[in-house]
């Protein structure tokens, strides 16, 4: 692809045999990394594989236990980010570090302001910012306030900030996690422009598609160990996935054709306000029938969060109806919704999904502890609870084994999600709402989560899937509903959707444009 920019004779960054231990735990175990001038080098690994640890060492946030970091042929000691910046390394973190009420210019020059006498020379600063943005083709409005610009723009500001500090090597940590498809395409273009100028980019990600689209080489890390560095052009996505996980992974979800049944969830003319009291739902209508998965695609902030919160009883609506199984559950309690058939996999598993200090077995009965065999006359039946947990752990492959009494907080993210899924699926309600069910999970765990969601649909349950991952929406949904500005603007069969039309519709465009 863009291999033409790579200068294979000039190695800008080399990390040799990096070992990083935290106590008894080895986060990086002999990692090798070689980045050439003009190269986009992806670092691929599951969650907790040690990608971020590795990059934090390169950026001076952590010190390696052993191993060498060589920049431009010289061995360097990175004691803090300042050393890294001086060595020409810049990092764009997953969560941006920008001052919200400051302008773009102010953010970029922050800490390195040109001065005139005792004051900041804003004119020169602005000019510098304009120059640098033109040089690399990163269009921005230098006077806009950060709080007013989009996430994609904020990312540009972060990149410019690094470039302004003279970075020749840019580390991008999960840069696409909050971008729209269009913004992702733009970002990849920007990355190519930068490499044309002789910059090198290290891209941390677990998204295979983006690696295929942008990177030249890819280094794979599995459980802290160096697996290998491959030429991206010579590998397929499947190859990359198996190298990352260490086994064969299937992306295809087995979804037999089936006819949807009666309407389970019927949302009518829903109006609601967000946390600031601003109207964010402006007459939303949505139906989900038994035996179908309806995916809600949309850019964050168009009302999907509020919609889910209203359906699950966490938020009050100002107007409308939420009918589940013929009963209006709107503006009641989460309990009322639950009793009338709503179960959900919440967006924030640690905040809403689990009591992290509770054991796995206690988490599995969070809604049901008063019911059935789990308690009698207010006394918990510990044996029944444990038996249920043992069965769930086996059935839903929650690891580590025998984790009934372990605090849920000690499980990995993927296994925490499995606990929630085990609970919600076994609640056996007619409606399952899943919000970003695979966020932050790696390929292996995503596979499980998708399997269970489709299983519910096959069992004739109604599934409402809200996700910022378009791929997920497209591969799982029978129908895709696009949400924009507080309304469902369109609904189309899943097999007719493609990323571009969806992306356009999510941004407020029409299907036929």
């Amino acid at each position: 692809m863009a291999r033409e920019n790579v200068d294979l004779n000039t190695v800008v960054i080399e990390m040799r045999n990096i070992v990083k231990r935290f106590g008894n735990f080895t986060a990086n175990d002999g990692i090798m990394l070689k980045v050439h001038k003009g190269e986009i080098h992806a670092i691929l690994g599951e969650n907790g594989a040690g990608k971020s640890t590795l990059m934090n060492q390169l950026y001076g946030l952590l010190k390696p236990t052993s191993g060498d970091i060589i920049v431009n042929g010289k061995k360097v000691d990175m004691n803090n980010p300042k050393d890294a910046i001086n060595a020409g390394i810049g990092m764009v973190h997953q969560h941006f570090m920008l001052v919200q009420p400051f302008s773009v210019t102010e953010n970029i020059v922050l800490g390195m302001e040109p001065v005139k006498g005792m004051t900041v020379d804003m004119k020169t600063a602005r000019q510098n910012v304009v120059d640098i943005s033109e040089k690399y083709g990163l269009a921005i409005d230098p006077d806009a306030k950060i709080e007013d610009i989009s996430v994609g723009m904020q990312q540009r500001v972060e990149i410019l900030k690094a470039l302004y500090r003279g970075a020749d090597v840019l580390i991008l940590d999960e840069p696409t996690s909050s971008l729209t498809p269009a913004e992702i395409t733009e970002l990849i273009q920007i990355m190519h422009n930068l490499t044309k100028d002789g910059k090198s980019i290290i891209l941390i990600t677990h998204k295979l598609k983006e690696i295929k689209e942008s990177a030249d080489f890819c280094t794979i890390i599995r459980r802290g160990k160096y697996i290998q560095t491959v030429d991206v052009d010579e590998c397929s996505e499947d190859d990359l996935a198996s190298m990352m996980v260490g086994r064969k992974v299937t992306f295809k979800v087995d979804k037999p054709k089936q006819k949807a049944g009666e309407v389970i969830l019927d949302v009518k003319d829903l109006h609601g306000v967000d946390y600031r009291g601003v109207e964010i739902l402006k007459g939303l209508d949505l139906q989900v029938r038994a035996g179908e998965i309806v995916g809600v695609a949309g850019i964050d902030g168009n009302g999907q969060t509020e919609m889910v919160e209203i359906i699950t009883g966490l938020r009050k609506a100002t107007k409308g109806e939420v009918i589940v199984n013929g009963v209006n559950v709107m503006n009641k309690s989460p309990r009322f919704g639950f009793e009338n058939g709503v179960s959900s996999i919440p967006a924030d598993r640690q905040k809403h999904g689990l009591v992290l200090d509770f054991s796995v077995e206690d988490n599995l009965i969070l809604q049901n502890f008063k019911e059935g065999e789990f308690s009698k006359n207010g006394i918990l039946n510990r044996k029944a609870i444990k038996d249920f947990a043992t069965k769930s752990i086996e059935k839903y492959d929650i690891r580590p084994e025998n984790c009934e009494e372990r605090p849920a907080g000690t499980l990995s993210g993927g296994n925490q999600q499995k606990v929630i899924i085990a609970r919600e699926v076994q609640n056996d309600k007619d409606l399952l709402i899943a919000v970003n069910p695979t966020r932050g999970l790696d390929v292996g765990a995503i596979e499980y989560v998708h399997k269970y969601i489709v299983e519910q649909r096959n069992k004739g349950k109604a599934v409402l899937l809200v996700s910022f991952e378009l791929d997920e929406i497209m591969s799982l949904s029978d129908d895709i509903a696009v949400i924009f500005d507080g309304k469902i603007v369109d609904r189309l069969p899943g097999n007719e959707a493609d990323e571009n039309t969806l992306g356009l519709m999510m941004a407020g465009g029409k299907k036929d444009e």
């Binding site: 008894n24 735990f25 907790g48 966490l314 309690s333 905040k351 509770f358 207010g378 918990l380 009494e405």
Partner: protein
């Protein structure tokens, strides 16, 4: 997982019992250092503490009598810790509970023992619960921070208690700045003959049995009932509990009501077993605050609290005798302060451990609860 080498940090962070014992040892060591600086014989001082406590059945029965209210108030605070509210208002609930029992006993002096004693208990629990529930109401209705309102309610209780003690019908007939003595029918002391026969202290009372029963009840509620499950869920993660269909507001009410009930009962036990009347306070009595200390030393575990209450009561009793050998009684405060300090540090050990292990996918299991 088990073959992992245990570091010192693991040891401290994982074993609460060892850590508590160690904190107590350090408390005495620090006390000893202060004694040495003041050129007081450590042997004399600590010898006196020990000889006071282990002075046959008499010494031990004193310790038990002293410990009873501390255990009960400690349970109250521990219960609140477990359910995610910090009941710093135990002091006020204690004072009000005590006064409620006192007024009941003074106004109905002639009721027979089997009626009056339970009545006093109920009055104290009811008033203690109300004192806790008002705070819960303020919190759930208007979001007023419970710590602030509790501290204010401690002072309201303080002055209200003094006010009631000065009401003519309640106030002592003599010159003492206190209420009347409660009638004999409301006392829970053992019979004088029994005390004499077994060489016990003269304030030996049935309260300790109540404390034992309460310890078991509190443990049972927390560990075995749906109510405990619910309260703990809200305490650990209010959001998830609500998502799961548990009403957080209702839980806060229940938790503070039960906690207040216990503190109030602690006040009644002290009154009916030892004090027999309530003085007009010049400063806060400190039982509620001691309850916090006891709950901390007991790691909020009901049985731990029971042991901690005995320890605390014994120190308080024996510490009071230190001046007989020319040692300032404040040494006990230094010891207790140091113990609490080092127990509080255990959180830091756990935190350091957490930081060190953070990148690890699966963390080690913490010491088990049950």
């Amino acid at each position: 997982m088990n073959k992992e080498k245990k570091t010192l940090i693991d040891f401290f962070a994982n074993n609460k019992f060892i850590h508590t014992l160690l904190s107590i040892v350090i408390g005495f060591v620090v006390g000893a250092i202060f004694l040495s600086i003041m050129h007081i014989s450590v042997g004399t001082a600590y010898g006196k503490l020990l000889s006071t406590v282990f002075n046959g059945t008499k010494g031990l029965s004193y310790c038990v009598a002293y410990a009873t209210p501390y255990i009960v108030v400690g349970l109250s605070v521990a219960f609140s810790f477990k359910t995610g509210v910090f009941n710093i208002g135990a002091e006020g609930q204690y004072v009000m509970g005590s006064m409620a029992a006192c007024v009941t006993a003074i106004l109905l002096p002639n009721l027979p023992k089997p009626v009056l004693i339970p009545l006093c208990f109920i009055a104290s629990m009811l008033v203690g619960a109300i004192w806790g529930m008002v705070v819960a109401f303020l919190k759930t209705k208007w979001g007023i921070n419970e710590v602030l309102s509790m501290i204010m309610f401690n002072w309201i209780a303080f002055y209200l208690s003094n006010f009631i003690a000065n009401i003519p019908a309640i106030h002592n007939d003599g010159t003492a700045e206190a209420t009347k003595y409660i009638s004999d029918n409301a006392k829970i002391g053992l019979s004088a003959d029994f005390i004499k026969a077994h060489d016990l202290c003269n304030v030996t009372n049935w309260g300790i049995l109540v404390a034992i029963v309460l310890t078991i009840i509190v443990w049972f509620i927390i560990e075995k009932t749906t109510l405990g499950y619910q309260l703990k869920a809200v305490g650990f993660n209010k959001n998830a509990a609500e998502y799961g269909g548990i009403s957080a507001n209702k839980s806060i009410f229940t938790a503070l009501a039960i906690s207040g009930m216990l503190s109030g009962l602690g006040g009644a036990l002290q009154l009916m077993g030892m004090g027999n009347r309530i003085s007009v306070f010049s400063g806060q009595e400190g039982y509620g605050f001691a309850g916090i200390v006891v709950a901390l030393i007991g790691c909020s575990n009901p049985f731990g609290v029971f042991a901690a209450g005995l320890f605390y009561g014994s120190l308080r009793y024996s510490g009071g005798k230190l001046n007989l050998v020319g040692v300032p009684t404040q040494v006990v405060d230094i010891i207790i302060g140091t113990v609490v300090f080092f127990i509080a540090i255990s959180t830091i050990f756990s935190y350091v451990k957490y930081l060190k292990k953070k990148p690890k996918e699966v963390k080690k299991v913490e010491g088990k609860e049950e």
